[in-house]
Symmetry: C2
Subunit: 351 residues, 2 copies
């Protein structure tokens, strides 16, 4: 395959129809998309084209067997109108790790980075200045081969689409701790951003929503005693002044925000423990007042404070802290992402 | 919604291009398909149209979150050219059970049955006479709403496509018993025909293929001590003259072939045990010679004899039986399906 991306520009831009003050997440897309097909055993000519519907045979395996993986990342605009990505190589590495588990061919690193940068450059006007504004970027791969045998496809489509975003969650989040439903198992695909992992959470999350909880914190499928992660966020606990989070595993997504927070926490002299966390420990800490914070971390919400959790019908409110760890991490992350501070880690990548 | 299906016939048939003697499973489709969209909170006008590609926004949720369920069923042609379905209401009930778990709206029973029959009637010429020949029918639902928020879609497409089939597996199957990978967990979606369940099996199955095993028999994700089911088949064991199979659960698909076999076995005076089966029991029975048969059951293969299993690197061959249960069940099932015998159960449904 050639690495030179073929670019076809949109004739007109849709940008003037968009109300950037009132975006709902993931509904508006920019003028272009990146597309690359896999067939005859290799990735074909990468292209940037006008954002447009795709046409597939009804027998395309993605419709039947969920052979699909995705990523989520963001671009940020600084005060000088320069656009930055945040740790994009990690998203590439992770989509390929997910792809391997789903028997999807890996996508070449150089084409990914080149395509990503060219696409964001082309749609730069869609990245708005101002903290909280960003361009949400969604790389994904789908099995397109028209054949319904239950085996890996030999044809795929890799795409990158972009959606301008404000913040994902508004306000504090109330969560339910899973007692019965589960998200993943040992030996399964929980660590991958496999499409099917997400739809599987919709029904239990609907039930939680009805009880007034926006998210579920998943527990291990065996015993439901250990806290794992939320639907699209890793989860942190602050007990007294120690920051605690579960280790990643084959059941838990290795979140890029999570590992960035761990790094920042260590470098800020905050005591950090990466270890299994029991539900019972959380409840005790809540009862004796040592539980100071719970928050989720993820690309979409960055840091999302959790104000209450429910377990076996009992609701535990988390008293508001004056000095929240979550606020510190959010600020430090945003400062790096928006080029407002030094970036000692080399996480910021110019497009 | 109106129940009257709008039918647009294909102008020409593709049937003359098809080599019915050399079909590979699920690659050739008939002239028509059934389509019904869900929007504004309800299923819209059902249609039968020429089989054709479908066009979706790249942000359609099925591509990102695997919000999709499917069914597999067959039509058979008897010696008088009459076409029969096998327990079709069970497929409808099951797709709606799967749909509920995936937060997809249920599809109305009458429209399903009417659409299915009308479609198979229209493409009747594609159902060939002769044992082993059949029309494989694939109803499925996909989330089409163009929005990448990780929550249930508000728009869906229900389709039925049909593919002429010979037999799915050729010859006896050698299987690997899962020791590390897993297919489903308690509280998960294993009992549903959720798209994502299938892609998740591709990678471990590829590994098994490389070692010379066509299929995996999954075990419980916790302990890997209990035998559950294969990728697209339930599994039966014959120890001496007792037929044993695991009970269905939230981890195991409630197979229609499985329950048909259980019924036939009971009525044939075969001793049947529906109970958890340990891997260790299987190994002991293999060693002491009491393990007479293992076979899989499913719509695609109907009954598929298993000639060997591997566990922790050791391969256990199953000596060929003169009088196989699997052959008895297959014959009785085929006779009912192809209208060669009485159907005391009312399983056969004329189109
Ligand atoms: C299951 C799951 N956990 C955690 C995360 C957070 O990961 P990241 O910080 O890389 O966005 C995500 C979202 O990307 C996710 O889907
Ligand atoms: C996971 C799984 N188990 C078992 C079966 C067999 O079910 P049935 O006999 O209804 O085809 C299937 C296929 O349909 C399946 O997908």
């Amino acid at each position: 395959m050639t690495n030179t991306i073929e670019i076809t520009k949109a004739q007109t831009s849709k940008i003037h129809d968009v109300d950037f003050e009132n975006l709902s997440f993931g509904k508006v897309f920019t003028d272009h998309m990146f597309v690359c097909d896999f067939k005859n055993g290799e990735w074909q000519q990468p292209e940037i084209t006008p954002y447009a519907p795709i046409t597939l045979d009804p027998s395309a395996r993605v419709f039947h067997y969920g052979q699909a993986v995705f990523e989520g990342m963001k671009a940020f605009k600084d005060d000088e109108n320069k656009v930055w990505l945040f740790r994009p190589e990690d998203n590439l590495l992770r989509i390929n790790k997910s792809a391997e588990r789903l028997a999807i061919p890996a996508f070449p690193q150089d084409v990914f980075m080149e395509g990503l940068k060219a696409l964001v450059q082309l749609d730069e006007a869609w990245v708005k200045q101002g903290l909280g504004n960003s361009l949400y970027i969604r790389p994904f791969v789908i099995a397109t081969e028209p054949a319904i045998a239950a085996s890996p496809a030999v044809e795929y489509k890799f795409l990158i689409i972009c959606s301008p975003a404000q913040s994902y969650y508004s306000g504090d989040v109330r969560v339910l701790i899973a007692e019965e439903f589960s998200r993943s198992a040992n030996g399964g695909v929980g660590y991958a951003k496999a499409a099917g992992n997400y739809a599987a959470q919709f029904y239990p999350t609907n039930l939680a929503n009805k009880e007034g909880f926006q998210q579920i914190i998943w527990t291990d499928a065996d015993t439901h005693q250990y806290l794992e992660e939320a639907g699209t966020m890793n989860v942190f606990f602050r007990i007294n002044d120690t920051l605690i989070t579960a280790p990643t595993s084959e059941r838990i997504l290795d979140g890029i925000t999570r590992k960035s927070i761990l790094k920042i926490a260590e470098d800020s002299g905050i005591s950090v423990e990466v270890r299994p966390v029991k539900v019972s420990e959380l409840i005790e800490a809540s009862k004796d007042g040592s539980l100071k914070e719970i928050f989720g971390s993820g690309t979409a919400a960055i840091v999302s404070p959790i104000s209450a959790f429910s377990y076996k019908g009992e609701v535990f409110e988390i008293p508001h802290q004056e000095e929240r760890f979550s606020a510190i991490f959010k600020e430090k992350l945003l400062n790096i992402q928006y080029n407002k501070s030094e970036d000692p880690y080399g996480w910021r990548v110019s497009i």
